[in-house]
Amino acid sequence: MKKLVFLLTLLATPAFAQVSADTANPFEGKADAAESGHALFGKMNCAGCHAYDLTGGMGPDLTDASWLYGGKPGEIYHTIAEGTPRGMPAWKDKMTADEIWQVVTYIQSKKQ
């Protein structure tokens, strides 16, 4: 039963399953998704580390060309979902897959 629920969940949110480095952002370039991501960036305290203008502070700059854990949409998704060994928390239990993609969309919209 538990497995079935899990399977149904996967089917219901295809974006959450099997995100790889090359997975395309389902919301790529969508302004409304970027705006939702903007709100989440503040609400989930992302701005506390990466700054409200995304140029970093406590955590790395997200607007430059340097990506510690990869700058492809799927890689950014993975970093947000799983966190990093160097103190970035994992957000997969606190945000839905769609929400994480919205944050990815917002970050992509701010990259130089």
Binding site: K43, N45, G48, Y52, G57, M58, G59, R86, P89
Partner: protein
């Protein structure tokens, strides 16, 4: 009458300047332009040997006064590099090296590697290396770079904090770990960046994490084995804060039961931060320790109506039991991130015909407080730099009179609040000279445009809400180095600098003050006039405290780390801000030192046996 007397003293001073500046009588309380100009003095206990440094501020009173005088106004311009040491770590360097016997001790920022350097050999080779391997998750939890503000030597051990909430003690002879204790859970946000402070058999540790919704604490550990002797939370119930019958705050608004709960909405005190991450002082006569607490959490004040006790405050506690004696909240209901953690320099001053035991505290909020340390009464509270958030501090109530235009507003930009979050001065420690009666401090000249946001508490993530644009104040210079009269509450002189002056200071028995700048200049200035007597450009900006010592060759050296970072990183996009670094520079007159000059073969022959030196950690 007083004026004419002063004029006579001035004339005498001018006639015999050398005599006035150097005679022992100078250390007294008499006023003269060349002697002690304020009458302020300090107890320099524990009066360690003049050439050594076993604690960051040298004495319990936190004066950072060194009686050494081989390097003086006549030869300071001949200071040259004697040797350097790079530790390979790229986070901000903030502490001062310690020197005990023939050994120098330094500890890097994260990953907090300790080195013992053998001063008896040419080039000061590595004697041992200690790698504690702290948990890398701490990197993501430390708000303001991955720093360590200092370390202590006591009982044959080097004692210091690891970023991941451990305190360690290392055998100073062998470099082997003696004990290690875990004091908090880094995954929830707290870290340790404070400089461990030792008195007798106790080491005092305060937590960091003002921006992480932590529950700040301060505790005394046993130097022998690290076990906790007492622990006081900043906020919450009186029991946990060690507030009991001995607690007698000077101002009545800080008197009451469980104010660490009732001055917060609901249970918000549990994430109220108020972390004591700064300096600790100790008065051996009163047997009290003094330390300040950080900003309240979250930084958005509209989410936490109330005084928010005991954030942005100073505590006096019994050094043996931890019981609070008094407290004073500098910035009630702090709306601007004006932590109260800066150093408390313990002085004795002439005050209305009597001597008073006081502490002098340069607060982030821009006021320099002279407070009776036996009672908590504020005697002097005057601006020492640019501020506009308060009209003044009302000395009858101890409360600031807040300027209405300075209140932040959620989702609306409020322009030109001075100072910004980082204050008119930050943790960078000042120095006091018992010869001049003055304090010396690096200060900031800046303001902010502030937009506040509502935030939610998510353990292990920032609990913050301040969005700021900082800009330099009038004159366009971000920083200054000043001399301060703690009795009159006035500046005596200042040196303008391009960027924030975020280094510590040391003042010597020859009236030299050393400090560094974020654009990489290390300077010596005349303690009496502020005249710059010597400057040397180093390889990175300076955010560490300088120190001075006597080597085994009986020669005086001055040492400072160049490795800009920490909170100073807020100016990283300003012109002149230098890349990070990790080099300790050691200076002497003419650069003289064992093995230097035409003695290379000697230095080669005396090089130490190889030791395993760890690689640099990857920069985050």
């Amino acid at each position: 009458m007083r004026k004419s007397l002063l004029a006579i003293i001035l004339l005498c001073g001018a006639a015999f300047p050398a005599l006035s500046a150097n005679t022992p009588a100078d250390k007294g309380t008499g006023k003269s332009a060349t002697g002690n100009v304020t009458g302020a003095t300090a107890n320099l206990a524990p009066n360690d040997p003049a050439g050594q440094l076993t604690r960051q501020a040298r004495d319990y009173a936190n004066t950072r006064y060194s009686p050494l005088s081989q390097i003086n106004k006549a030869n300071v311009a001949r200071l040259r590099i004697a040797w350097t040491f790079s530790d390979g770590q790229m986070y901000g360097h903030e502490g001062a090296p310690l020197v005990v016997g023939d050994t120098m001790y330094v500890v890097t920022p994260y990953p907090n590697i300790a080195y013992a350097l053998d001063l008896s050999k040419a080039g000061a080779p590595i004697k041992w290396v200690f790698q504690p391997n702290p948990d890398p998750r701490a990197i993501g939890e430390a708000c303001c770079d991955k720093v360590l503000r200092g370390w202590a030597y006591a009982d044959g051990k080097l004692i210091y904090n690891l970023l991941d909430d451990h305190t360690v003690a290392v055998d100073a002879q062998t470099g082997k770990e003696v004990w290690r204790v875990l004091l908090d859970d880094v995954s929830k946000g707290p870290t340790l960046t404070q400089a461990a402070f030792v008195v007798g058999d106790k080491v005092y540790i305060g937590s960091s994490g003002g921006e992480l919704g932590t529950n700040g604490w301060f505790q005394a550990l046993d130097v022998k084995d690290g076990h906790t002797i007492w622990k006081a939370f900043t906020n919450g119930p009186d029991d946990g804060a060690l507030i009991g019958p001995e607690f007698k705050p000077f101002y009545p608004w800080m008197n009451g039961k469980d104010l660490g709960i009732s001055t917060w909405p609901g249970e918000m005190w549990k994430q109220g931060a108020s972390a004591p991450w700064g300096w600790v002082s100790y008065d051996p006569d009163l047997n009290e320790v003094y330390y300040g607490t950080s900003n309240p959490g979250p930084r958005t004040p509209s989410q936490r109506p109330g005084l928010n006790l005991w954030s942005s405050a100073v505590f006096a506690r019994d050094a043996d039991t931890g019981q609070a004696k008094w407290a004073y909240q500098f910035t009630p209901h702090d709306e601007w991130d004006y932590d109260g953690v800066n150093e408390n320099v313990l002085l004795d001053i002439p005050w209305k015909g009597a001597r008073r035991k006081v502490m002098v505290h340069f607060n982030r909020n821009g006021f320099a407080y002279t407070i009776d340390r036996a009672t908590g009464e504020v005697l002097v509270a005057e601006p020492f730099g640019l501020q506009n958030w308060a009209e003044k501090i009302d000395l009858t109530t101890g409360m600031p009179i807040v300027n209405d235009a300075a209140h932040p507003i959620v989702e609306k930009k409020v322009e030109n609040i001075c100072p910004p979050d980082i204050g008119v001065k930050n943790w960078n420690p000042s120095a006091f000279s018992p010869r001049t009666g003055l304090l010396y401090a690096g200060v900031f000249n800046s303001c902010m445009d502030l937009t506040n946001h509502i935030v939610q508490y998510i353990p292990g993530s920032p609990y913050d809400g301040m969005e700021m644009v900082r800009h330099a104040g009038p004159g366009g210079n971000w920083g200054e180095f000043i001399a301060w009269d703690p009795v009159q509450g006035k500046r005596v002189w200042s040196v303008k600098e391009n960027l924030y002056v975020w280094s510590g200071a040391v003042v010597t028995g020859s009236d030299l003050v050393f400090y560094g700048t974020m654009d990489g200049w290390f300077r010596a200035v005349d303690a009496r006039s502020g005249k710059v007597l010597w400057s040397q450009k180093l390889g990175s900006g300076i955010t560490a405290a300088p120190m001075t010592f006597i080597g085994p060759d009986k020669r005086q050296y001055v040492a400072v780390y160049a490795g800009v970072g920490g909170g100073a990183g807020v100016l990283r996009r300003e012109k002149g801000f230098m890349p990070g670094g990790n080099t300790l520079y050691v200076f002497s007159v003419d650069g003289a030192g064992p093995g230097n000059g035409a003695t290379q073969l000697v230095s080669h022959a005396e090089a130490a046996a190889p030791v395993s030196v760890p690689p640099a950690a990857a920069h985050n």
